[in-house]
Symmetry: C2
Subunit: 455 residues, 2 copies
């Protein structure tokens, strides 16, 4: 079966939604040389290893270490895997978990989970949530994966300080290595040392590293996302093959062939030429809900920039919004159709769900439900998607669609990889530094001073 | 203890964030007569019972019937409560559940749940999710509450058709009344009949009604939200008192005294005079996450309108966005600070969490963490909130803050009630019909035709 995901931007064109809301053939023509130019720069950056996300899936050593460690830990039968991490250290795992594990996974019996642990991604410092997690996950049966490149992230490190005390008290400090795994910067002379290194030394913890040239939001295919994936029994080979397949499709600068570049061009033109400062991602599948959340960080943090690469003050960046079909038809579609035409709506479609759910011939007294009888929930979902797409078109609202043949490691990896390449290209089109985040420092410093530390 | 929630709009003023991003004293002066005028109309509409959301909390009969039925069903010891509903039939219950039940509630033992059932809000038609819910919730131990005013909602009715078949097969049709409860339109000559009425008659089901003058997105304090609340052991009296307290505060047209009107004025001016077409709601508490989602429907569907009340084509409506502090500091704050200044950011603060979580003196080798030692996660959360507010101010980004003294039925009800009144006032300022949603019909009709039904 062809597993390729497919891009459809027909309804973002002027031919579909008219002017000024759709992109004209001339606008596509104009942007092509910019794409080609940016492609050359991105290829150079990849070659020079300025940025490393493109090649994570090829890192045999990293995958070996992750898979070996996971096999070892799985043998010990943990009931819980708890991620201590925030932002890019958490969002990838949450996206993969929601996409690739069954719904209500943590409620399932151990047998249904095939002996894999439950998963808790602790990406906040709400004291009620954290305390409740501690009650639910007895430390004897729990493996904690702390993820912070620098080991200086206040939220994550405060979580770790609490967890270490609990393990010392309830299991014993000598057992720390059986309960805590570290993911941080590599140990090398070029790398800024991670505060987690001395901790790992002290307790002899298993360590994974994130390459220095990979930022948090581009790290899902590094051990940041892959160790949890392996612990949860995800199809790592399928994930790597999905990355490889998409990498290959993204090798060309030809807009008609490269799905990531085509999407980048559409998103960029929508924002800068069509006044769509909002980009909605609306999957019609519960399992892709958190992919939309992961993309939200990728898109916002990469492109929301004050300064251009030329030092001009530009204040760029579309605001990413997540929505969920069919649910949000009953919440957001009124606005999307009748509010200001200020959005590009990205619809994620899944052609085949893992189950078929028949709508039976019950409630016979209601004649007006005849059209549902004998059909399936699957067909209803597809019809709702189509109905919404058509209704949006009637209102001249541009839509860009991504079609996944089905949901598995291969297709979801294609999707994430494509969105990463799309973001890298978009950063070039906006002419900003895609890979930094200078705007988050000041708030952290103020918080640190308020806590009595140095700013 | 004073339980009043508090509004702080100082950082949305020009004195704080300058011009053109902050609201000037002159702009507040100018809007005051419009508020007074709108207030008079809203009072008249309330008096005439054109819209009923204001007075739901006073409906003694409705609360009696809900509480009696819940007591009766609770005696029978259900393991699961499953809501079949979408949009306004689901979002209120999800908001209350996340706010007022412990985190990871469904994972808790029955004892910790104080014998209340687990809760599943089925607000989508994803076949994988629905089938998995059916596996997890054995029908013998499950109470289903189907919620649809008309009984014609395709998503909800297809769910019900499936559930009814399962109950017939596994428990028996004669036991339907022990497993299905209906919430729909009242039976009266003025009301359009609900398709759920003959179903209720056939199986002799317990029925609750939503007053005709209350739309889905304003229905949380009707049996739509209150029957699930009672089944889950929420403090119904506290909720009603919270509504009453806020109702009283909203009785005046004086902007300085009426928190809902003040918020409406700020949001409206931000959109129409300050080019903030995006309104972010960012609670710094996991428990308020889904209040932001509930508000998203309320704000979008009420104000996203093509036509004004005078028949002019206006295409109004701010796009509501939900975020979560501190988590999204590592995802969205880069954009909020350095991207386009196109947002008003509503921060929800909780002064006192239900637990204090101390950060112990561990990881002694990391000197740079000294500032965290001996502090609490609570203080860290408060510092992060403050740091973000200050950083946003440095970037001249307007912020409007809502402060809850703590989280309980009383304060959360105040919050929801205030946001409803705010929305009603905002609709008047925009001069649109706050209470309809003409834009969602066309997509539904297309979907119905695609399923072989009549459009």
């Amino acid at each position: 079966m062809n597993q390729d995901i497919r891009i459809d931007i027909a309804r973002a064109k002027s031919a579909a939604v008219g002017q000024p809301h759709g992109i004209t053939p001339a606008e596509f023509d104009e942007i092509e040389p910019h794409i080609a130019e940016a492609h050359a720069i991105l290829c150079k950056e990849r070659e020079n290893k300025a940025y490393g996300f493109w090649d994570l899936y090829k890192d045999e050593a990293a995958f070996q270490s992750v898979e070996n460690a996971a096999a070892d830990f799985l043998n010990r039968g943990y009931e819980n895997l708890v991620i201590l991490g925030i932002g890019g250290s958490a969002l990838g795992t949450t996206a993969l978990t929601t996409a690739l594990l069954p719904p209500f996974y943590n409620l399932m019996t151990r047998r249904r989970r095939k002996n894999h642990p439950r998963i808790f991604v602790m990406d906040n410092i709400d004291p009620v949530t954290f305390r409740t997690m501690m009650r639910l996950c007895s430390p004897e049966k729990t493996l904690y994966n702390v993820i912070s490149k620098s080991g200086g992230t206040a939220e994550t490190m405060s979580q770790l300080m609490i967890v270490v005390e609990m393990i010392e008290k309830k299991v014993g400090a000598e057992a720390m290595a059986e309960h805590v795994v570290v993911t941080s910067n590599p140990r090398s002379d070029d790398a800024p040392p991670s505060h987690l290194h001395p901790v790992a030394d002290q307790y002899k913890l298993t360590e994974f590293t994130v390459p220095l040239n990979v930022g948090g939001r581009f790290s899902v295919f590094s051990p940041v996302g892959m160790f949890p994936a392996a612990m949860l029994g995800m199809d790592i080979d399928g994930i790597r093959e999905g990355c490889a397949a998409m990498d290959q499709r993204c090798a060309t600068s030809d807009l008609k062939e490269n799905p990531a570049y085509l999407r980048a061009a559409v998103q960029y033109l929508m924002d800068t030429a069509k006044d769509k400062n909002i980009s909605v991602m609306m999957p019609y599948a519960d399992s892709l809900r958190d992919v939309a959340d992961w993309y939200r960080q990728l898109w916002a943090e990469s492109l929301g920039k004050r300064w251009s690469l030329d030092g001009e003050e530009v204040y760029t960046g579309q605001t990413p919004v997540k929505a969920l079909g069919a649910t949000d038809q009953h919440s957001q579609i009124q606005l999307y159709r009748e509010g200001p035409n200020d959005k590009i709506i990205n619809i994620l479609e899944v052609r085949k769900f893992d189950t078929n759910l028949r709508i039976p011939d019950t409630l016979g007294s209601i004649k007006s439900l005849d059209y549902l009888r004998g059909s399936t929930m699957n067909k209803l979902m597809a019809a709702e998607l189509r109905g919404t797409m058509d209704a949006l078109k009637l209102s001249k609202r541009p839509v860009s669609r991504i079609v996944l043949p089905r949901i598995n490691g291969h297709t979801v990896a294609q999707l994430l990889y494509m969105l990463e390449v799309e973001t890298a290209m978009a950063g070039r089109l906006y002419n900003v530094n895609t890979f930094d985040q200078p705007g988050v420092e000041e708030g952290k410093q103020i918080a640190r001073r308020l806590m009595g530390g140095q700013g």
